[in-house]
């Protein structure tokens, strides 16, 4: 029997992206620069998160013309973002043939209670999380890939580190629990018991977990890999820097050779200006993107 859209096919693509860098791009020429640098996929966007933050207002799914143009320009997978809970944007993205949908806190949420029922789709979804409970709630809704959120558009790695450590700590904690303690853990984390049990038994998240939100340098990417990320998303960090092509290539190499300090030193040389970062405490609470998602 031939089957499409199975969970194995959906999570399988995420497995193929491991050890790689997924780059935010806003047009065909940026997509080509990303592919040339060795990106494993591109995220098609109207604006990078730093510009969404600066522009304010409501951020929505990108114009389909723009997404189609990016799909045409490259042979690597193309991802695109839908608003949290906006299942019609997701239906449109699926119809456009994008390879992965990011139900993303970078855009303005469309539903403050429910996420998209991702089991309804053949195209796989990636979702953000700050901790284990949020990750497993997204997996229970059908997400085939997770990314820790960080704080998008800041060029500041501190939130990405916080979220990755939080997930890893929870993996260690769940692994160490006795079987009868898993029921209370499910209640505490507000996540389904079956998934809690899976993490307890296997010692990792049930799907691939990338790091996102604040990566601006090769060292940032290698830090997240050493902390246990399966790969990284780089949003504003590349095309808001002085020399995007060079920085993109350096971040790809750092993600592969994340544990080789001598090589990282070579890779990090002479990359031009990194994006200007934002100190997290300077961001008003209401503008923190990571708070979006339930």
């Amino acid at each position: 029997m031939v089957e499409t859209g199975t969970q194995r096919v959906k999570t399988g693509l995420a497995e193929m992206l491991k050890g790689g860098v997924i780059m935010d791009v806003t047009d065909a020429s940026q997509a080509k620069i990303a592919e040339e640098a060795g990106a494993v996929a591109v995220m098609a966007l109207e604006r990078v998160p730093a510009d969404i933050r600066a522009a304010g207002g409501v951020a929505r799914m990108a114009d389909p013309t723009k997404i189609a143009e990016i799909v045409e320009a490259v042979t690597i997978p193309v991802m695109a973002k839908a608003r949290i809970g906006h299942f019609v944007e997701a239906q449109i993205l699926e119809a456009l043939g994008v390879d992965y949908i990011d139900e993303s806190e970078v855009l303005t949420p469309a539903d403050e209670e429910h996420h998209i029922n991702k089991w309804d789709f053949k195209v796989p979804f990636v979702c953000g999380c700050r901790d284990m409970g949020e990750a497993l709630r997204r997996v229970s809704e059908g997400a085939a890939m997770i990314r820790t959120k960080g704080e998008p558009g800041t060029g500041n790695i501190v939130e990405a580190v916080r979220h990755m450590r939080s997930v890893n700590e929870a993996v260690g904690w769940l692994k160490g629990l006795r079987e009868e303690e898993l029921f209370a853990a499910a209640k505490d984390l507000q996540a389904p018991y079956e998934l809690i049990k899976w993490v307890h038994d296997n010692g990792r998240l049930p799907v691939v977990n990338f790091s996102a939100g604040g990566i601006a340098t090769p060292a940032d990417a290698a830090l997240m890999m050493q902390l246990g990320a399966d790969g990284v998303f780089v949003g504003s960090g590349i095309f808001k820097s002085g020399d995007p092509a060079k920085r993109a290539k350096a971040i790809v190499q750092a993600t592969t050779h994340f544990a080789d300090a001598a090589l990282l030193a070579e890779i990090s040389k002479d990359l031009g200006e990194p994006m200007v970062g934002i100190e997290i405490s300077q961001i008003p609470q209401a503008e923190m993107m990571q708070e979006r998602g339930w």
């Binding site: 497995e15 193929m16 992206l17 790689g20 690597i76 997978p77 043939g97």
Partner: protein
């Protein structure tokens, strides 16, 4: 316990799953990140991933000539999906770095985009019925002399062998089935 060590090229892609399959056979699996590590292994698997990304990193870190020399010394190499593309002598469209070790022509993303990705049962010569997972998969457009087709899907070639080289368009590492890895281990033991 077998003393043989099998390497998995670990520049990018589904490395962990191949190593788990290798170790399920009682053999040591090694993630290969630098060419000098090829000296330690008896066979190499080039995993699925993005073939353009893996190809560029192979050029950057001097793997192209090193893996060619490894294969030409008679040591078995198995490529899955992206790895199959890298083993090919030619690709049907576009350009990217290739090892050119197998006399096949590969077509990238031949089965379509992710929404067309699928799983299906294949009848593999020498192995039998096998649940195969195809993800944005390539196919084998043409084979040269001396290349044996091991499996087809809808009359399209999706698995082939040429002496010490083995290629599949699909991902045996994404299922619990280790028979193809066992087949590759047998190739190593015969080499």
């Amino acid at each position: 316990m077998n003393n043989i060590k099998i390497g998995v090229l670990a520049l990018q892609g589904a490395v962990r799953e191949h190593i788990q399959h290798i170790e399920a056979l009682g053999v040591t699996g090694i993630a290969v990140k630098r060419p000098r590590e090829l000296d330690e292994i008896a066979g190499l698997i080039i995993p699925g991933g993005e073939s353009t990304a893996i190809g560029k990193l192979m050029v950057e870190y001097d793997f192209i000539d090193a893996v060619r020399a490894f294969g030409e010394a008679g040591k078995p190499v198995y490529g899955t999906c992206a790895g199959m593309i890298l083993l090919a002598q030619r690709i049907s469209e576009g350009g990217q770095p290739l090892l050119g070790l197998m006399d096949i022509e590969a077509r990238r993303n031949a089965f379509g985009r992710q929404r067309e990705s699928f799983e299906a049962d294949l009848d593999i010569e020498g192995i039998g019925l096998f649940r195969a997972v195809f993800i944005r998969a390539p196919w084998i457009e043409a084979t040269g002399e001396g290349v044996q087709t091991l499996a087809e899907f809808d009359n399209i070639k999706v698995m082939a062998r040429q002496n010490q080289y083995l290629a599949s368009a699909f991902h045996p590492e994404l299922t619990g089935d280790v028979r193809i890895h066992k087949y590759f281990l047998d190739m190593i033991e015969e080499a």
